[in-house]
């Protein structure tokens, strides 16, 4: 499947700010899409599209903080960089507590924003790579039979084949066969790798 391009989404109700940010981002070789309001952005945003959101805090109608809340409710993990001309500490703390990547006060230096955008894009790339990795593990997990799942759970708890056989009421040879199938289906080279896979999906909802 073809990767979608990384995009810097800019949401700001001020035309001049939107246009200057678009020019700045373009001059840095970044693909940018600009929106004049939070609802306009929400109506067009596709969570599968990688990128970063540069978001004004104060906008008429839905504010930037409300848009962040809405994105969180939808489980969208896009990094958000807030920009504001009227920021205060409670506002910045609220944004950061809700997972903002950064919070910048206007006026800021162009390079400061570009640096943060680049860091946010890197984080988004890493996050999506982790997500793809755990998705692949989940797909492999779904291919296991119920008995193989039971064996997987017990061996990743550190139990030896003999103990697993006792727990499941089957022969040790049967456990060995199931275990071999588990290793093959999960594409795990070792028990340690299998444990790491299970930990990776446990960490990620």
């Amino acid at each position: 499947m073809k990767e979608l391009p990384q995009t810097v989404f800019v949401v700001d109700d001020d035309d001049a700010v939107r246009n200057s940010l678009k020019l700045l981002l373009k001059s840095a070789g970044l693909h940018a899409e600009v929106f004049g309001s939070a609802p306009e952005f929400m109506s067009k945003y596709d969570a599968a599209q990688p990128g970063v959101l540069v978001l004004d805090v104060r906008m008429p109608g839905m504010s930037g903080l409300e848009l962040q809340h809405e994105l969180n409710l939808r489980g969208a993990a896009i990094p958000v960089i807030f920009i504001t001309g009227h920021g205060d500490i409670p506002m910045a703390v609220e944004a950061m507590q809700h997972g903002a990547f950064d919070f910048l006060q206007k006026p800021f230096r162009d390079q400061d924003l570009l640096d943060r955008v680049q860091r946010a894009l890197t984080r988004d790339t890493e996050y999506r790579a982790k997500l793809r990795h755990t998705d692949r593990i989940r797909e492999r997990l779904a291919s296991l039979s119920p008995r193989e799942r039971e064996v997987l759970e017990l061996v990743t708890q550190g139990k030896a084949n003999k103990m697993v056989a006792g727990d499941l009421g089957v022969s040790q040879r049967t456990v060995e066969i199931h275990r071999a199938h588990v290793m093959q289906k999960m594409e795990a080279g070792s028990l340690a790798e299998l444990v790491r896979m299970m930990m990776a999906i446990a960490r990620q909802p």
């Binding site: 920021g87 500490i89 950061m96 507590q97 919070f103 006060q105």
Partner: protein
């Protein structure tokens, strides 16, 4: 340089809860150099028992590691180490410990940096001593 102080604990170091109950009171650790701001923070917290102001950052981290720790208040600059590094160390030691950072009013950049490095909340002082006490109260209850 941090100076030692034990504030408002009883002679056994156990203290009583704010509502007069007898439940174990968790320690409120204050970190900050000997400055007017640190003293004001300590003064604001005078109604709490088991407020400690460790002698060094190492000691503050050791207290943070303790199961009795209720919260950490970073009251002021730490002359021996940047706040963000200390904050990160404390956060790594105790993932769930409430850590409050006191900043000057309107220092948004410092507040954002503190949040990024693991602060639970940043409180600007002055004016919000009451907000600090509310947060500390919630943390130790």
């Amino acid at each position: 340089m941090l100076r030692a102080a034990m504030v408002a604990s009883d002679e056994n170091g156990n203290g009583a809860s704010m509502d007069g109950g007898t439940a174990r009171v968790r320690t409120i650790i204050v970190a900050g150099q000997s400055s007017q701001r640190t003293r004001k923070v300590l003064h604001a917290l005078r109604g709490f028992t088991n407020v400690i102001w460790p002698t060094s950052l190492e000691s503050a981290l050791a207290q943070t590691r303790s199961n009795d720790a209720g919260c950490l208040v970073i009251a002021d600059d730490l002359s021996e180490e940047p706040i963000d590094e200390f904050l990160q160390e404390a956060r790594e030691l105790r993932r769930s410990l409430p850590i409050f950072v006191i900043t000057d009013p309107d220092d948004v950049a410092e507040a954002v940096s503190a949040m990024r490095h693991g602060a639970t909340k940043v409180i600007e002082i002055p004016p919000s001593y009451a907000a600090l006490c509310d947060e500390v109260m919630r943390a130790v209850q």
